[in-house]
Amino acid sequence: MDFEDSPEEAKFRAEVRAWLDANAKPKASRDTGDALGEDDKTSLKAAKAWQAKKAEKGYARITWPKEVGGLGGTPMQQVIFNQEEAKYDVPNTGAFAIGLGMCIPTVMAYAGKDVIARYVKPALRGDEIWCQLFSEPAGGSDVAALRTRAERDGNDWIVNGSKVWTTGAQFSDYGILLTRTDPTVPKHKGLTMFYLSMKSPGVEVRPIKQASGASGFNEIFFTNVRIPDSQRLGEVGQGWQVALTTLMHERLAVGGGTGGGLDVPQLLQLARELEIEDGPAIKNAAVREKIADWYVRSAGLKYTTYRTMTALSRGQQPGPEASIAKIVVASKLQDLSAFAMELEGEAGALTGEDALDQGAFQMGWLSAPGLRIAGGTDEILKNIIAERVLGLPQDIRVDKDVPFNKAPTGR
């Protein structure tokens, strides 16, 4: 048992470091990260430039084959690159995460050679950004209940409806779109997947103002949007199978959330500095007990990641333990930041310049409800653990064998 690189891993790490040294500056201090991808547009240009630089070297997607612009490397090499890159002051390339993590893998799995040749490299370089158009007002956790209609019209499809919670749609060039093409069959059977240009006539993107005040997500409205049949991914009526490919990648991508960098060290710092009734907060037994509770969750996750990396390093499939990360991180962020605000007392209500640390804990607390929902709610993730990891049966689904247009909707 050790935490060392294998000789091959060490060699790759050295190569990555040398490349990063030549192309970026080491970080001065730890940044606090960005829990929900709430980047502003000014940083997008820098992100694209950095992404293009990585793509030239094959570092934009290390596990992808060289033919499509990857490095043909191992998952462990991707982990090593991520670890090293995190030590440098480089632009946040989160804007490309959904496209490269979910959309393009779906395109590569279902589109023809010409389409792959046309779209993969520009996405890798960050020249074109993709978004994922699945969730709807009527279909969140139950994505297959979506209602956006695509109706056949000669060689085209006409799309009407709306999508919601689409990350990055405001700066996306393309999207993969899950639609209902047949409402007379049960919900999973009447879906079809397409890709489309977000500049298509009839597509309208409106930002959603979140409870935290930020706007990382959008609503998208489709009014008689015309999509050629050649942009269909998978067979008509097979959209759910295609979507599962995407969603499988989503859990891998969202699962690694850090909770905006707020964790036990920040709480410890606060507890050291703050005087409460009986002296420094850090001396108070109730405070210590809370810190210990969150520490064991944090450390447990860290070492769970090490177990996953060990499997990758040995060329094995990681075990299912990787699926616990988001459930643990999101609720820890919510509880820990609420507790920090408790310690701050009445001034804990402040945000911005007047708040301690510009209101870091307050912002963590405000964004936490979103983290517990985005990319699969806590409840859906527990269902996934129960069904896919523990092998428990699915809940009874009353709409499973009912034609979609006859299923109960509540309105």
């Binding site: 048992m1 410890l268 210990a292 520490y295 860290k302 070492y303 390093s313 409840e379 527990k382 269902n383």
Partner: protein
């Protein structure tokens, strides 16, 4: 990154698993419960033949000298099987006390007999209700004589030797403490069986009246030595707890899949699914923390006190949760004597107290975080 047990260690674990699932079924645990015996003597004898007690004891002292990682995998299996044998007292506590504080002569004299299970040993700390604190220790060790009373001593009814936390001088604080090694087969040492929440782990009160004893380690270092022993024991015990918690999840799952209510398996209800998912999350966190503890223990890393505290807190939380929610998943039958669920419920709490309560370990944990911040 190589944060896992080796193939050889996993093979040892498989062997231990196979052996215990044959020789230490819940029936064997029940037999100890119902016969009133203090431990499973036949099982202890077989464990002696396998040499498990000497797994981490160096060869020069008659052990196998394999190492702590090997002992961790055996501990997990012992925990899984709720093995009713005096293994943790003898190996994690008594042997480790000798290794930490013993003189060369003491180690030579006693460790080979521990490795062969000829000696059952234990570590006696508490003197009453409440946390074990230096100021509460009234047992005295002066001029080779031990006087005082210890309570809730695990395996105290069967131990041939005990390491006893005593006061060696007039200093009423930490510096006055002294560990004493005492042969319990003498007139000056009396024992009385105590009832406990877990009948598969016997507890005893030990009374010393001018008992002959010898010093173990130096006065003034007793408290820090004791904490070093407890750190080691906490990691090993965490593996027992993780093993027990894992069984609880498997039992709850097995029952939920078979039990029908409202026309379907209760495992299909989200209230049950989410409960079992919560158990899974807690168990995985505990396992990962225990692995880090194992690494720190096996390498003698300076992170051991923090790693041990985290492993202990995490494993105690996971086993407590899994054991109580296992009963809850079973419903009424889970609360019957006939079903095995209560064995785990009782063991989870017993292990959670045996090396000191969570409160104490959480406090240690934050102390370590503070120390590493200061460094």
């Amino acid at each position: 990154m190589n944060f896992d047990f080796s193939d050889d260690q996993k093979m040892l674990k498989d062997q231990a698993h196979k052996f215990l699932s044959e020789k230490c079924t819940p029936k064997a645990v029940r037999a100890v419960y119902e016969s009133g015996s203090t431990y499973d003597r036949a099982l202890w004898k077989q464990i002696a033949e396998l040499g498990w007690a000497g797994t981490a004891i160096p060869e020069q002292y008659g052990g196998l000298g394999l190492g702590y990682l090997e002992l961790c995998v055996i501990a997990e299996e012992l925990g899984r099987a709720l093995a009713p044998v005096p293994f943790s007292s003898t190996v994690y506590q008594f042997a480790e006390s000798l290794l930490v504080s013993g003189s060369e002569e003491q180690k030579q004299r006693l460790l080979p007999k521990v490795a062969s299970c000829e000696i059952i040993g234990t570590l006696a700390r508490a003197e009453g209700v409440g946390a074990v604190l230096p100021k509460n220790i009234r047992t005295t060790f002066r001029n080779g004589k031990l006087n005082g009373k210890k309570t809730a001593v695990v395996d105290g009814m069967d131990a041939g030797y005990a390491v006893v936390l005593a006061r060696g001088s007039d200093d009423a604080g930490e510096r006055g403490l002294q560990l004493a090694l005492v042969d319990l087969k003498q007139a000056g040492a009396k024992r009385r069986a105590q009832q406990s929440i877990d009948p598969s782990r016997s507890h005893a009160e030990l009374t010393f009246e001018n008992a002959n004893a010898e010093a173990l380690g130096k006065q003034g270092e007793a408290w820090s030595d004791l904490n070093r022993v407890l750190d080691r024991a906490a990691v090993l015990m965490a593996f027992e707890q993780v093993g027990g918690a894992d069984v609880c999840l498997q039992m709850a799952k097995g029952y939920a899949m078979e039990r029908y209510a409202f026309g379907r398996p209760i495992a299909s209800f989200q209230a049950i699914k989410h409960k079992l998912a919560d158990m899974y999350v807690a168990n995985e966190l505990a396992r990962s923390n225990a692995y880090y503890g194992a690494w720190a223990l096996s390498t003698g890393a300076r992170e051991l006190p923090l790693a041990a505290a985290a492993a202990r807190v995490s494993a105690t939380q996971a086993f407590d949760f899994a054991a109580k929610e296992n009963i809850q998943t079973h419903g009424g039958v889970g609360f019957t004597w006939e079903f095995d669920c209560h064995f785990y419920y009782k063991r989870s709490r017993e292990l959670g107290l045996a090396l000191g309560a969570q409160r104490v370990w959480k406090d240690k944990l934050v102390t370590q975080l503070e120390l590493s911040n200061a460094a």
